[in-house]
Symmetry: C2
Subunit: 155 residues, 2 copies
């Protein structure tokens, strides 16, 4: 069984450009536990530049956002003593996103996002996320995620 939580999103909620496994054009963010941190790794395509040599902020915000919702799901499953893929599905969406750009993020290297859930409730998870380019934290983020409304599963 995959340890990436996005691989367990119900089909009807697996189309997100940032993290949906069914979106052929998308970024395919995948979030998995590494002990108490939720980690995602991503090497941006060359087109996502801010200025030549550096990643544009919108992509970095997107990675933070989708890794935040993935981390929320991971944390909620863990808090419930369940594995992703068990029923009912736990799918979170973003209510609020904060991104601080600390330094330019170089293009051409794998970026590593490390998230810590700092508040875990049944319907709300807050995560703090650091984005690393090599050893350097270039972006810091905070995602408030809320459990997706049932209407999302009824389309």
């Amino acid at each position: 069984m995959s340890d990436a939580v996005q691989d367990h999103y119900p089909d009807e909620t697996a189309w997100c450009y940032g993290c949906g496994r069914l979106n052929a054009d998308g970024l395919h963010v995948q979030s998995r536990w590494e002990s108490d941190e939720s980690v995602a790794r991503h090497t941006p395509d060359d087109k996502y530049i801010a200025i030549p040599g550096f990643v544009y902020g919108g992509l970095l915000a997107s990675l933070i956002d989708c890794h935040g919702t993935g981390t929320a799901a991971l944390a909620a499953y863990r808090a419930a003593g369940r594995e992703p893929g068990t029923q009912p599905p736990l799918r979170f969406v973003t209510a609020s996103l904060q991104v601080d750009f600390l330094a330019p993020t170089p293009l051409g290297v794998e970026l590593v996002l490390r998230a810590r859930p700092v508040e875990v409730k049944e319907r709300k998870v807050v995560s703090e996320i650091e984005l690393f380019a090599g050893d350097q934290v270039t972006v810091r983020g905070r995602v408030v995620a809320v459990l997706a409304p049932d209407a999302m599963f009824e389309r």
Copy 2:
């Protein structure tokens, strides 16, 4: 002369995926004054879905981000009593981005971003931005933009 500030960005800083006129793959956000508001209009491509029928948050964050830096430049030129395109160029980058998702944003309609600069200093501009889908504000953002370091122009 174009009234979109991004059309006046120096070539070496006009490659941003979000707003660079030279990025063939990009979103081409364009920001222009409509009296005291800076406005950008964008109809997302169908691939940028969250779930079917709705725009994914990362794209919305990208639009807020790039319209925030564009608005910062517009505000800085206006504060200096100068037109975009006059020398020296004023090019801002994002220090901090806050995005609140108030309601799902429907796909398939033109989105209108309306920004108000709420703090305008020589090297720092803060803007508050609302994103409209029709009459509804679906996303609210706040961008702290800072004047780009000279190093950006020396590559």
